[in-house]
């Protein structure tokens, strides 16, 4: 199969970027979307043109590195799928495909389709943890946790930190990412101890990083490759309200 690509090229954070046109020929429908870009890049290198830069690593949907907006949707239109898991059989022969970076004020472009998502790390550094040092922990079975709570915590913890929720949101809000982390720890007894402090610290850092506010568009849930539910945003709002009342 053949496709026509329009891809965002931008030399660095300060340069002006633009969409460039490329033709990708003789593709196999079994190729992943990124393997298709690999083939395009091999051609470009052979022609002496710098390859298209994009973040990727595990290529099996778990590291959260890949991050493209494909035809206007983060990770493409396929439900619950990261860009790297996307296959060319999800497209049609002769399709025109537009590929852009995740765009948000808090995600400055580094080069082409590569963006800096360090803001998400800084949110985690502000409070995305249980404050325990290594060593001297009670036996792992000492605190029983109901299967329901543990499963719900796992549903939230499945977030891969890719930032698709931010890219999908008209306000570039990081609410779903933040809510997933707050909820994961708030559902577990180990995380409850400092739940109030955590939610305050993490939300305050989110605001500082320049992410927008949540106005309930729910685009984040639709774009999330790990199907993180927006019910966690409700959970975080409850946690936040409670901690605001209690701590003040």
């Amino acid at each position: 199969m053949n496709v026509t690509l329009y891809i965002w090229r931008q030399k660095n954070a300060h340069a002006k970027g633009k969409m460039e046109k490329y033709e990708a020929r003789d593709l196999s429908p079994n190729m992943s979307f990124l393997e298709m870009l690999d083939v395009v890049n091999e051609d470009l290198i052979t022609q002496g043109v710098e390859p298209i830069h994009f973040d990727h690593d595990c290529r099996e949907g778990i590291c959260g590195a890949c991050s493209l907006v494909i035809n206007g949707r983060p990770h493409g239109k396929q439900h619950a799928t990261t860009t790297c898991e996307l296959r060319m059989r999800h497209f049609k022969d002769g399709d025109t495909i537009y590929v852009e970076p995740f765009r948000a004020k808090a995600f400055p472009i580094v080069k082409d389709l590569t963006v800096d998502r360090g803001a998400m790390d800084r949110i985690m550094q502000a409070g995305g943890f249980v404050s325990v040092n290594t060593g001297g922990m009670p036996d792992a079975n000492a605190i029983p946790i109901s299967k329901k709570d543990s499963d719900t915590a796992m549903d939230a913890a499945a977030c891969i930190g890719c930032g698709a929720c931010v890219a999908a949101c008209p306000n570039a809000s990081a609410m779903l990412f933040v809510a997933a982390k707050v909820s994961h720890l708030a559902y577990l007894p180990q995380g409850k101890v400092e739940a109030k402090k955590r939610v305050q610290a993490i939300v305050s850092q989110m605001d500082k990083e320049g992410f927008g506010n949540c106005t309930n568009h729910l685009e984040c849930e639709a774009a999330c490759p790990k199907e993180i539910s927006v019910k966690f945003i409700a959970k975080m709002n409850r946690e936040y309200m409670r901690s605001s009342v209690v701590s003040k």
Binding site: F129, V132, G135
Partner: protein, 637 residues
């Protein structure tokens, strides 16, 4: 070069306690005078960086990914072993130790492997305290599953994402220390060289991958936790950026490389489909708990699997290894799949595939149970292959997965360069010639949380704080060498893409130094690798410039190192004239085709010393002494 394993004396179960008492300590107020650089932020690196910072040492941590949360430990699916004996099924520290050393075909160091089993229980406690959402039973206690090479259920898991959840635990501990200002984190930064001062590792030169600039960092010790080298095969289950560069550059500076030929080929991966392919996707070994592996009995049988009657199927693992069946260790399962396919009984379009069939399990347990256990893996398979594994059996084939070999380390995890410590997959120490499933996560976290915090203190206390500055001439010299090498790569200005060299090297290694090896093939590889390397330095194409991000120069540097490293792997495989674990030499097998180990001549660790590019490295041998276990033929029948 002298190899001194520093193994403590005394009975096996008391060695670690005794050693911890004998090691020197740094008093809490003095810890801030010492600094450490941690290269890599996977399970081993992140846990080490966090734990050392908690103790009060000043830590800088480096990773080439855009965030430390993306290190490839995240890809591990199945689980993590511990000797908790929560299932009351006969597990113990000694049994976990024994299974691990037997699984490694008696080619690992007894003392290290025993310590790994000892600290395994602390790891589970630590992770639970961090909020790792392990799978639980309805009563609220932790659930376990079984894995290959063991007859007890000792594997803890978090759905099919155990590596991710454990890594996020370590990442959260690291993030906390970064937030507190105790760790300085450098993402998108790749180590280029270790800097030695008076023979001790006292710093590194790195390349900032976002700006392209070289930077120097000095400290009192350097820790490499940079993972394995399986991308030498090009196609593997590794992340695409995984590389051997940090370990290999340390080797060139004098760190011995141990057992490079011990490479694990994982039995359950999605088969190869075409030349464009960039990686092979692993299907967790846990699938073998409920899936049955088979091929048709008839050669070149083109019938769809559903039309092949029961009595015309060969469930070869159950037939050959009745007591372990589909849970035979990885090396044995992989080799059996290769044998079946080489015999012309493989399935799928390339005929290099075998069936992993869940029909029996679905009939017995119901689709819901299978979905609960493996739902995400089934979805992943469906997405990649466009076939529904609830309806038709999966097709799987072995793929390059894990490096048991790595930089040589002593009991303290220190390499032959004083002050250079190596943790996790990057070292060689605990798995011998074959790693059992769910043991990699255990080892990475054992090294980072529970070994290095003690042993590095001992080193610091012995050598004292030196407060070295990265302005010293030693740093400038190394920076100059790195800069020159990068310029040399740009100057090749050839026609062939770096990727094409990587692919060709991968094919050479897979063919001659893969699942089965022989003298003729290895010698052929040793002719082809230097020729390919020469061509690389004449004809590789590196584009762009040193300013800013440039993936072609990143890849070129890594592939250039693989093109040198591949040779030591072949030398090692050639030297080891026996079959053990994942190292199968066709010349050394029993009449039934099983690995034929030779304990009399080969019960040693091969540690290779660099002697110049293109020259044969020098072999040093660390004799393996077994005080506690009896060397037995490994049988899973």
């Amino acid at each position: 070069m002298k190899l001194d394993a520093q193994t403590p004396s005394g009975p096996l179960p008391e060695k670690w306690d005794k050693h911890r008492f004998e090691m020197k300590l740094v008093n809490p107020a003095n810890k801030r005078k010492y600094s450490a650089l941690v290269v890599g932020s996977g399970l081993a690196g992140a846990s080490a960086a966090a734990s050392l910072a908690e103790l009060g040492y000043r830590v800088k941590c480096f990773c080439f990914q855009d965030s430390s949360r993306r290190a490839h430990s995240i890809g591990a699916q199945g689980g993590i072993n511990a000797a908790k004996n929560y299932q009351n099924d006969g597990d113990s520290i000694y049994r976990l130790f024994f299974d691990t050393i037997k699984g490694g075909d008696f080619r690992s160091r007894e003392s290290n492997t025993y310590r790994l089993a000892q600290v395994s229980n602390d790891i589970i406690d630590q992770c639970a305290a961090q909020g790792v959402p392990f799978a639980r039973e309805y009563g609220g206690t932790l659930d376990n599953r079984s894995f290959g090479g063991a007859q007890v259920s000792r594997t803890f898991y978090a759905r099919g994402q155990t590596g991710q959840q454990l890594l996020l635990g370590a990442y959260s501990a690291l993030s906390r220390q970064i937030g507190l200002g105790n760790v300085e984190m450098h993402p998108r930064t790749e180590m280029q060289e270790v800097v030695l001062i008076d023979g001790h590792a006292k710093g590194i030169v790195v390349r900032n991958l976002a700006t392209g600039k070289l930077e120097s960092y000095a400290a009192d010790a350097v820790i490499l936790a940079t993972g394995g080298y399986m991308r030498v095969f090009d196609l593997s289950t590794m992340g695409l950026q995984c590389n051997v560069t940090a370990a290999y550059r340390a080797y060139k500076k004098g760190a011995a490389f141990a057992n490079p030929c011990y490479t694990q080929i994982h039995p359950t991966c999605i088969p190869h489909t075409g030349d464009y392919q960039s990686k092979l996707t692993l299907m967790s070994e846990s699938l073998r708990n409920d899936g049955r592996i088979w091929v048709p009995k008839k050669h070149n049988d083109d019938r769809p699997p559903g039309q092949i009657p029961e009595d015309e199927r060969d469930y070869y693992l159950e037939r050959k290894y009745p007591s372990f069946g589909n849970l035979a260790p990885r090396d044995i399962s992989s080799r059996s799949a290769k044998e079946a396919c080489d015999d012309g009984r493989g399935v799928g379009p390339t005929k290099y595939g075998v069936y992993l069939d869940f029909a029996d399990a679905i009939n017995r347990l119901g689709k819901n149970v299978i979905e609960q256990r493996y739902g995400n893996l089934f979805d992943m398979y469906h997405l990649i292959n466009d076939e529904d594994p609830y309806k038709v059996p999966m097709r799987i084939y072995p793929a390059a997965h894990y490096a048991m070999g790595g930089l040589w380390v002593d009991y303290n995890l220190m390499s032959t360069i004083p002050g250079l410590f190596v943790l996790g997959e990057a070292n060689f120490s605990d798995h011998g010639a074959n790693r059992l499933g769910a043991s990699a996560l255990m080892q990475g976290l054992a090294d980072g949380y529970f070994v290095i915090p003690y042993t590095i203190g001992n080193y610091f206390a012995r050598v004292g704080a030196q407060n070295i500055s990265s302005d010293r001439k030693e740093f400038k010299e190394v920076e100059g060498q790195v800069d020159e090498r990068i310029k040399k790569l740009f100057a090749i200005n050839g026609k062939r893409t770096v990727e094409s060299f990587h692919k060709e090297l991968g094919q050479i290694m897979w063919e001659h130094c893969g699942m089965a090896r022989n003298e003729t093939g290895l010698k052929k590889a040793l002719e082809r690798i230097p020729a390919l390397r020469e061509e690389f330095w004449k004809d590789a194409r590196v584009l762009g410039d040193t300013e800013g991000m440039n993936v072609t120069i990143e890849r070129a540097g890594r592939v250039a190192d693989f093109l040198e490293f591949a040779e030591i792997m072949c030398y090692d495989a050639l030297d080891r004239k026996e079959s053990c674990g994942a190292h199968f030499r066709e010349e050394y097998q029993t009449e039934e085709g099983e690995a034929l180990r030779n304990d009399k001549d080969f019960a040693y660790v091969s540690a290779w010393e660099f002697k110049g590019v293109g020259n044969k490295p020098e072999l040093h041998k660390e004799k393996l002494e077994f005080e506690s276990v009896e060397l037995a033929t490994r049988s899973y029948k």
